[in-house]
Amino acid sequence: MAQRWLPKPGGPVGLKEPVGRRLFDEPALVGATDQKPKQSLDYRHFEETRIPIEVSFDRLGPEGIDRKVVTYLAPIARAHAAARRAKKFGGWVWLKAAQLNSPPKGTAFPVIASPIQPSDPEHAEHNPYHAHTACTGDAHSVALHLQWLFTSQGKMRECKDPRDRVTIGQRISKVGRFLGGLIRWKAAPKK
């Protein structure tokens, strides 16, 4: 059985590594719920409020996405979501590191490996897959460029909450209810 991939300590982020940005559900304005849903990614997924601006990413595998890495990171991301006032974690949008380091057009965002150690006082969890890009200038500008880069070239990796998952028992009960209804309908006298 293959082991979960672990990045080399102190090593750079490989150009083929899928680098993901966590997605959290964000509310709409209460007065603007009549708007049509939009197709682009939400600006807020890329907005950083920290100064200096450091946009965090998760390294999701050595070349393609490693499922074990995703399984390891999902509870960390859910805890992060809970810390963000009951927001829900929905997965990642990801790009190859090379696409961020040197995009064909627009601003480049070099990705730096920055694992979070268990001893880090600012972070409760250990995340050896943490990476970031450091940016100067206006936070809105950085977020707008990242939003475009990920919307135009990014891929989605959804991550369902296990609490939302339908169990086998629930599925059996659903099928049972459907069959019961069908039998009652068949048995009912036809007009």
């Binding site: 304005l29 682009s40 807020r44 006032r85 927001k87 057009k105 500008s141």
Partner: protein, 187 residues
């Protein structure tokens, strides 16, 4: 789909206010105006009517967006509950003023929502790309993607005139509607 340039959008919205001459030399508004009073420079005299203008009418979607903004105002004393579903009075006021000033030179109706720091995000779609913008009480920051090429614009409210804001956005909208090299000439 034919998309007019911003200039065309602007001129299509120009309203000519026509005052019909009255028998007693009075303006149709009912205000007594001496017939020999000098006309303002922008008022043109035509044989059958006095044309005042041009004045620009706002985009059709402006009222809808204004309503969405005013309906999203944060109730007093509930700051701690705001997760992005409400706008502060300052942001709402800045965004409303911005749309009132520029609605006719923007690509179309925006999709709006609040940023994490409470500014207003407005996203526009056009035939040749998108315009994503953040409107705060201090500045307007936008990234236009015109045929796949990004073009950033930043306007500080205290550093520019309203004419300059409109002119910048009109030029951006023209590129978004017609492409970087303008509309193709029909043959």
């Amino acid at each position: 789909m034919i998309c007019p340039t911003a200039e065309a959008i602007l001129s299509s919205h120009i309203v000519q206010e026509v005052r019909l001459p009255t028998p007693f030399g009075r303006a149709a508004t009912g205000i007594d105006v001496p017939t020999d009073a000098p006309l303002p420079a922008q008022v043109a005299r035509v044989p059958t009517a006095e044309v005042v203008g041009p004045s620009v009418s706002p985009a059709g979607w402006l009222q809808i967006v204004e309503r969405r903004i005013s309906n999203s105002l944060q109730p007093a004393g509930r700051d701690y509950e705001n997760q992005g579903q409400w706008l502060s009075a300052e942001t709402a006021s800045a965004a409303t003023a911005f749309f009132q000033l520029t609605s006719d030179v923007l690509p179309g109706e925006p999709h709006i929502y609040s940023s994490l720091v409470g500014d207003l995000v407005a996203e526009f779609k056009a035939p040749h790309g998108v315009l994503n913008a953040v409107i705060s009480t201090k500045a307007f920051t936008a990234l236009a993607i015109i045929d796949g090429s990004p073009e950033e614009t930043r306007i500080e409210w205290n550093a520019v005139s309203s004419r300059s804001v409109r002119s910048t956005l009109r030029s951006l909208t023209a590129k978004l509607c017609d492409g970087e090299h303008g509309s193709a000439v029909a043959t």
